[in-house]
Symmetry: C2
């Protein structure tokens, strides 16, 4: 008998029919002899509807009250799924975040989980019940309702799995696993049976939005066995999905590159001819961070005659705001630059793979493949297990396809017998 935590997102519970379908899947796992704890999100569109009401009253609503409002979405779903399970003949019981004592800090709208009380759930599981828990929410130490921020239901599920020492945490989405790249762009993209946490972190942050990044960090920290599965399959199919592993050592047959990630949602800003002095990066990026703008890639080239070029990317939605901050600081004499260039029509493409740490030539292969199609690389940035390039947005699909082919990602790795 295994203890499984399953998480279903908003589209999986978006209608009464889909909730019934989720109930069938949960029931299938329960009737195979497992103890099942289910974590659910709000019905699709509901969180946006609720936040829309609040924003109809204020441009900048109180975060505490936003959480009071937004947390109701998940509360409705837990009641509905419990009823659906009962209707199919199973014992089920719902818990809000507060009821299951998901203790968080008091950072409303982006709270972090501090502790979960497992006793109540264990008692209920041992009495044969299926437990349905509201994701995305908790209570702070004063009993205020908090939410974990968008996508927080994944984190709730992983945190529950850690607290309960579950055998597995299954995240059900509208894809049946993690792919070598987006199948909508590369038709022979292949589902990975396993992927490491480190690779998953790079894939998630780079735009393969299968899992919320904080949940993956959490799973790594508490060694939770995490699996991504499809909520669209036949409930009794037992499809394997993709298992996310935290083994440090890789199997010899592991491919060098696991996948090609990409995002269109970034804009590039280059500050040309800035004086190369200590503190210049902070002079430029400090005010950007203070304006609550998230910066992704940051590249600074080597200095030439005491001046350097400084590039970074921000989310397209914060592009105008970022430029305004930069011009304000420049006008105030906080830094001197020859010019500020910016471009919204770019995209970022990355090759990700834990195997590249021990294999030379990955970068060369990537750059050769892009050059063969005449794709110009504007910015390059690398880490231990990923290489990212900024290119013209119009080449996105072409670049992803040519890289997928160059690294032979459509081929399953050779088995060692």
């Amino acid at each position: 008998m295994a203890l499984i935590v399953q998480k279903y997102g908003g589209s999986s519970v978006g209608t009464i029919e889909r909730i019934q379908n989720v109930a069938r899947r949960v029931a299938h796992h329960h009737s195979q002899g497992n103890q099942v704890v289910v974590v659910v999100s709000a019905m699709q569109g509901e969180t946006n509807r609720l936040l829309g009401l609040a924003h109809g009253l204020s441009k900048n609503p109180d975060p505490r009250e936003l959480d009071v409002i937004a947390s109701t979405g998940e509360q409705v779903t837990i009641g509905l799924l419990s009823i659906a399970l009962q209707e199919q003949g199973y014992q089920a019981k719902s818990y809000t975040g507060g009821q299951v004592r998901v203790l968080t800090d008091s950072a409303f709208t982006k709270a972090r989980i501090l502790n979960i009380d497992r006793d109540r759930i264990i008692d209920d599981l041992n009495s044969g019940k299926i437990i349905v828990v509201a994701g995305f929410q908790g209570n702070d130490e004063n009993g205020n309702i908090t939410t974990l921020g968008r996508g927080g239901s994944d984190t709730s599920a992983v945190a529950l799995a850690a607290a309960l020492k579950a055998d597995e945490c299954q995240i059900y989405t509208d894809v049946d696993g993690v792919y070598t790249t987006d199948p909508r762009i590369v038709s022979d993209a292949r589902r990975l049976d396993t992927i490491t946490f480190e690779e998953m972190l790079e894939m998630a942050s780079l735009g393969s939005k299968v899992l919320q990044i904080r949940s993956v960090e959490f799973a790594g920290k508490y060694k939770v066995k995490l699996r991504v599965l499809s909520s669209l399959d036949d409930p009794e199919s037992n499809a394997p999905g993709t298992l996310i592993t935290f083994e440090e050592k890789h199997n010899v047959e592991q491919e060098i590159i696991s996948g090609i990630a990409f995002t269109r949602d970034e804009a590039k800003i280059s500050i040309m001819g800035v004086e190369d002095r200590p503190g210049i990066a902070y002079a430029i990026l400090g005010p950007v961070a203070e304006a609550n703008i998230d910066v992704d890639m940051i590249v600074q080239n080597i200095s030439e005659s005491g001046h350097t070029d400084f590039s970074f990317t921000v989310n397209t939605g914060e592009y105008e705001k970022t430029l305004a901050v930069l011009e304000r600081e420049r006008a105030a004499g906080k830094y001197v630059a020859r010019e500020i260039n910016s471009d919204k029509t770019i995209c970022k493409v990355s090759v990700v793979g834990i195997g590249m740490r021990t294999h030379a030539g990955v970068a060369a292969k990537m750059f050769r493949a892009l050059a063969s199609e005449g794709i110009n690389i504007q910015v390059i940035s690398t880490s231990e297990i990923k290489i990212s390039v900024i290119i013209d947005e119009k080449y996105l699909e072409l670049a992803v396809r040519v890289l997928h082919q160059a690294f032979e990602l459509d081929q399953a790795p050779a088995e060692i017998s």
Copy 2:
């Protein structure tokens, strides 16, 4: 400085604009130097939408889960009203039933309030905050979410007023007070400045649906000063509404009759020629009660040659079910009757007034007025402060008008100078 509890129903908070209007009214009372606690219902239509989702999954959904779902309606409103108040420059803070520790029994969907913790609210009020509390809900001793049943927000408000020893509990509705009868039927119906609790109880149960009856009982029990006011008036009008008093002794100028109440929603069932023996009323009404059918009027005439006639009324919606129960019991030989007559096309009209206890001739005046219009009385039932008759439904408006006139309810009572 007074402490006021105000309650706003679903139609008063049905849209963003109406919530802003409620905020203006609350702010007006607060800026007059009062401490204000606001109790709100779910936005109009929201509770039905939520229960509809649950009933889409099950014909007979689990009451515990129904409460988890239904209680979210009020939770959304408290967040929205708090934001609206903050936007108008006031400090406001929301509380769910559980957070303000409205302790109830565990009778899901129809729980009763056992206790309310006042300390937290008093602290917040003393720091200048306006407190916004979700009506209709509480927690049982195990932390399960409970609801008080339809209209329970009135009860929440009165219970809070009692716990806080508030100076007044103001119930805002879509009428500006309690009238001598329905102004849609009698155009010169008059708003009452005061009405006694006992009269209000009779008026409420008889179809003048201004206040939920349990809230009035609660107010009487804890001596809460209760006032009915309009949420449609200008927020700064200071209109007086109707004050519900619990003074036992009446002012001399008090009119004998306070109002004419009526309902169309009842059906009459008469069981003719039943043997007049001990236990016969239980033999007939026991199975009806066991089938969870509420019985309103019950009339048994005096016995004639060992047989009697037995009449009672039920809600029209339970008419068929009631007849089925009666026929089943009769067929099983539980009682013997000559025949069962029933009629859905009836209505009940009542004159209500605490003054009738000390004034003879009210019944005679009532019967004479009805006779003058040729209206036949089918059943009569009386209490200390009310006389009810069952008549043909088609005479409803005529009867109400003729009684309103006969008791001169359009005239304000003479002042004693």
